[in-house]
Amino acid sequence: MVLHLPEADQKILDNKSLIVKELNRFTCNVLSDNDELRPYETDGLNVYKQKPLAVVLPENTKEVSEILKYCYQHNIKVVPRGAGTGLSGGSLPLKDCVLMSMGKFNKILEKDFKNRCVVTQPGVTNLAITQAVQDQGYYYAPDPSSQLACSIGGNIAENSGGVHSLKYGTTTNNVLGVEIVLIDGTILRIGGKHLDSEGYDLLGVFMGSEGLLGVVTEATVKILKKPEAVRAVLIGFNSIEDAGSCVSDVISKGIVPAGMEIMDKPLIIATENYAKAGYPRDVEALLIVEIDGTASEVEAMIQKVLDIAKMNKASYNKASNSDEERMKFWKGRKAAFSACGVISPDYICMDGSIPRNKLADVLGYINQLSKKYNLRVANCFHAGDGNLHPLIMFDSNDPKELKKAEDFGADILKYCVKVGGVLSGEHGIGVEKRELMCEMFNNNDIQQQLSLKKAFDKKNLLNPGKVYPILHRCAEEGRIHIHKGKTKFPDLPRF
């Protein structure tokens, strides 16, 4: 698949051996042979592949700072990489870039129960944080399905969420501080163990910035006490509309479940075959609702949810009676991707966010598109916060199918924006949805974001070619002031 990336700088390519030699001055972990580079040529969006000029694996902040400073001075592009599980191509290398893998930043630095936080290096996996504090009854709340593998640095860059984000928020709500290194080598500490910092909220704007503003070298994350009681219920419906309106009713009655997920029939069947979670096969939509709190509160809420489900014509329900059973309920949902991997050679996972009451509408549209493109699709939603994950299945051996799958995905996302939603809820824009940014933003909006990028990275060397369109003229250079509707070439396509 041809993907437009910023043009490679021939001078840099020609200087490879010198650059590698120089990089070796700053760290002993530099990879440059073709074979060594291969593991880094792609991320979770593996339809795109590109080997970088070289890979560095720095071991401490000083090395990161020196490498970045060197690259900045010599106009060398840098792409940060965590565990490479990203689904939007955020850590896809460029031919002339230094790929900075944070894999050696793999230590938890401090567990501070008094301030209820953990200080960690960014290469530590999401799950490892919970594992480090669970013996004291604590956990780290954001729980992406990839939590076994993905890194905290990557989570920060993508503002990752999980099935429990409905109640406990995404990464941005759970990180208290970071140490970052800017492309010119400047080391900055933002936030810390306290709650609010004064001044511009650099911490907030850094969350979800997809590795474009700086490299995270340390993070302080909030940990929460485990709830006293947790239970989940499986609820089946004969139509997706009923499931959707059940979700809206639960939320508007003031119940905030810990998690609330919907799966459609194709996904129920696929996950049930794969994970044997005990899901009913004869329903059109399955809702998993998890409630936590004190024991009696959980009981009362589960009952309320079941009452609401009944009013919405639920045809099936089953509540968990033990933690093992609850985990089994989630086993299917958490295996959604693997299950699709089994029934189709390839799939891409979309990630739009929509207003909750549009769920049925959007799903109906997705099914129409599935017929139009003649590609199978299975759907899971973080229904409580309107975040959709349609999994579009295709066969990449047929080059036409990838294009079709991408067009299908783009149509879904455009529709999400049309009904008042956004292009990405938690996977980021990366290279995948870059050209769709103009569906949501106009020229002024994009230019403002690019100006902000310049404040952090004047030469646009850190992870260029991601998030912002490069095919559209307006994003190339310079700022066009459209005032009072007057512009030099009003009929040229812009945002």
Binding site: F113, R116, N159, T170, N173, T186, L188, G192, K193, H194, L195, D196, S197, E198, G199, Y200, D201, L202, L203, V205, G208, S209, L213, K225, I251, S252, G254, G293, T294, S296, E297, A300, S353, I354, P355, H382, D385, G420, V422, L423, S424, G425, E426, I429, M437, M440, F441, N444, D445, I446, Q447, Q448, Q449, S451, L452, K454, F456, I482, H483, K484
Partner: protein, 399 residues
Amino acid sequence: MNDIYSPVNEKEVSDFIYECHKDSSPIEIIGNNSKKIGRVIQCSKTLCLENINGIIEYFPEELYIKVKAGTSLEEIENTLDSKNQTFGFEPMDLGFLYEGKSRGGTIGGVVACNLSGPRRFKIGALRDHLLGFKAINGSGEQIKSGGTVVKNVTGYDLSKLVSGSYGTLCALTEVTLKVLPKYEYQETFCIYGLTHNEAINFFSTAMDTSLEISGACFYPADNTGFFRLNDVKQNNSILSLRVEGPKTSVQERIQQLRKIFVASDYSVLDIFQSKAFWNLSKNLELFKNINEIVCKLSLPITNASEFLSKFSNDIKYFIDWAGGLIWLSTKDIETISKMRIFSVKNNGHLTIYKSDDNYRRTEEFLTCGDTNFKILSSKIKKSFDPNLILNPGKMYAGI
């Protein structure tokens, strides 16, 4: 005072700022002038956004409200109230602090100051509840960011940047905020007679449970006179823990608190007193009608004891956010300087909320010890406002 221009729509705001941008002529942005916050600045022009007001859309079941930035907090809160909803971040009414009576100001001002109340440590700050906005930047261009949905990683999260930017990046014209259903019930568990050190330890004990405490503050003995509530014991220090949720769950959790703190002198405030208590606390009524410098200090919890051991005799104060925040006042400028030094050393943030204009003119409003942070802040300011015309110098001298 200079002339005040009060546009009635976005286009007028845009045109006005565009003209000022061309002439590099500085503008002070005001909502309805309720908060004398930030440094005193010299501007030839004042832009008042009070007339850009009204509720644009409110979908209770989608849990958000979209309003024009000049809408009064009061109007918005009344609207939410009618659907039994509220802002989770509990915006403070700073009118008591500045004028001795209620004056919540406009929502634009509330967002620009990132005002977050007692629930902050549990549910996040205002910045966590701003889903999207529209604004005019310093070049007169209309910009927008975010949307109406909670999960969103579509470009930089500018909502975070504008929250707490005190009108120095852009003039907000429209904001979309997350709303929450009101809690059905609440009670507050008060413990009396603790020292500040004991209080910090008690916070820790309470937070180390699964009881979902949603308010945790401490007032030393001589600062509690303004809580005139039946079940609040006078002449004692008070540590208060708020529990919210369905009635049975609240009562169950209060019961657990009784067990944990059985050896202490305590009382329980019913729903009415509990609401009144947290309103008085949230709106800083402790500092009503006093003529002193009032500041907010955000500190790691473990540094709060040391801070209070050093300074508690020189200040009037209370602790909020389960030990994470100290509100305080003092007459003495020297004390403020010493606290600033302490704060910078201990990774804290001290912000002056109220002071006389002389102090506001000459002294810093925020306490920033990091030059690199300031350099980057200055670049960010320029990325929104290249000619530095919006509230110049309000946050930091020169930015």
